[in-house]
């Protein structure tokens, strides 16, 4: 039997193209999204507690249809909070137009000093769409606890007064109002953007 070299070449070419398509086009579709944090699988609703923004009362459940990014911090925060907020602002820039369906919220862990107005001025410095929320100490304690966040006033320098140690996780709430993802403080802006993108659908 003699080999038909033309046929062999065509078959080889088809096989190579097939493998390339499978590798670069089909396989990635079946690969699970790699999250930057822990995904909550059951249906954990965000608390409906009413908090206060400079523009009136706000509930976490007011944002259905948007992916909500929740962070707990305070305006006197020397390091972690500004770093996280500017990272979140970068994530929104990466998302471009898709960021229209994202709401970033910072809830204060220092309600004694953070007025709604001070919070607004602080968070909008990072991105004009950010919202800052405050409330009674009892309500903040309740909301923080349910988000797995703990905070404790600590001693600070003479210049800043006291500081507040607090959990630095970033929490993602999906469009239906379910708490879905816990992200560590170390996550990159790119990773956060891709996780938000996943929940935007």
């Amino acid at each position: 039997m003699t080999l038909n070299w033309k046929r062999v070449t065509v078959a080889a070419a088809v096989a190579v193209v097939g493998v390339l398509v499978a590798w670069y086009v089909i396989l990635p579709r079946f690969q699970p999204h790699i999250f930057g944090g822990a995904v909550i699988q059951s249906t954990q609703r965000v608390p409906r507690t009413e908090l206060m923004s400079a523009d009136g009362p706000v509930r976490m459940t007011d944002f259905e249809g948007k992916v909500v990014v929740v962070y707990f911090g305070y305006t006197f925060c020397p390091d972690v909070c500004p770093a996280t907020l500017s990272k979140l602002a970068t994530s929104l820039k990466i998302l471009g137009d898709r960021a229209d369906d994202v709401q970033v919220i910072m809830v204060t862990v220092d309600p004694a000093r953070d007025t709604a107005e001070a919070l607004k001025e602080y968070v909008t410095h990072f991105d004009p769409t950010f919202i800052g929320l405050t409330g009674d100490e009892a309500i903040i304690n309740q909301v923080a606890t349910l988000y797995g966040v703990v905070y404790e006033p600590a001693e600070g320098s003479a210049g800043t007064g006291y500081t507040v140690d607090h959990t630095s996780t970033v929490l993602l709430v999906d469009k239906e109002g379910y708490l879905k993802l816990v992200l560590p403080f170390e996550g990159s802006a790119e990773q956060i953007a891709s996780d938000i993108d996943y929940f935007l659908g």
Binding site: Q31, P32, I34, F35, G37, A38, V39, I40, Q41, S42, Q44, A138, N141, Q142, A144, T145, L146, Y147, G148, V149, V150, Y151, E152, T167, T169, L171, L179, V182
Partner: protein
């Protein structure tokens, strides 16, 4: 019957046996569901030190809820904890610590001194097994709203509550809830679940982590 026919008809049987063998050898990965975020808390332990949910980050923690005056009602729960503690050596969680925290529901009555006596009555190694309580209002947020364990203070200083264990991973996510079960056989289940969590922690890097994430999506729950 010719030899060929016999061989042909044997092939499906051999394939089925091989598949069954493969299933036994390559057990499917088991994972515990990620149920809810565990509540943040700030409590005071038996040594009058503040302990928070942040201290627990990175460790696997088994919580239960009791109070020093609970007597016989807590005996079964404490026996279960003692049994788990004695069987921990058989559980491989790699570098990840396993700890126990008993949260007292009696924030007013259970001072650090009382908790320390309670711990020593139980023979607890407090490096491993801590006892803590806190401000009653914060306690309600943590235990009732966060851990979803209901309790009610009675007139005579006793508490009505459902004996419950809650297993929390290093991310601060609730991975197991064991309710209304006070029999010692709970220990078997919890020890098995600790092993599953340990395996997940040990495999949380590289290609194996992908298989674990996939297992979460395909719901391979024990």
């Amino acid at each position: 019957m010719s030899k060929k026919v016999i061989i042909r008809s044997a092939i499906p049987v051999i394939l089925i046996i091989a598949a069954a063998l493969a299933f036994v050898v390559f057990e499917p990965i088991q994972v515990l569901p990620r149920i809810r975020i565990a509540p943040g808390y700030l409590l005071v332990n038996q040594d009058a030190e503040t302990i928070t949910s942040e201290d627990a980050r990175g460790a696997i923690v088994l919580y239960n809820f009791a109070y020093s005056g609970c007597g016989g009602d807590c005996a079964a729960m404490n026996r279960t904890l003692e049994e788990i503690q004695s069987r921990l050596d058989a559980v491989d969680t790699g570098d990840t610590e396993v700890r126990f925290v008993t949260i007292s529901l009696d924030g007013d009555g259970d001072s650090p001194d009382v908790l320390r006596d309670y711990a020593s009555d139980l023979g607890a190694d407090t490096d491993l097994w801590q006892f803590a309580t806190g401000d009653p209002v914060h306690l309600e947020n943590v235990v009732k709203a966060g851990f979803e364990v209901y309790y009610e203070r009675g007139d005579n200083g006793t508490y009505a509550f459902a004996p419950t264990f809650v297993l929390v991973d290093g991310w601060g996510v609730i991975r197991g809830e064991y309710r209304y079960q006070t029999q010692a056989s709970d220990a078997d289940k919890i020890v098995r679940h600790l092993g599953i969590l340990g395996e997940e922690v040990r495999n949380s890097h590289g290609a194996a982590s992908l298989a674990y994430e996939a297992a979460h999506f395909f719901l391979c729950y024990p």
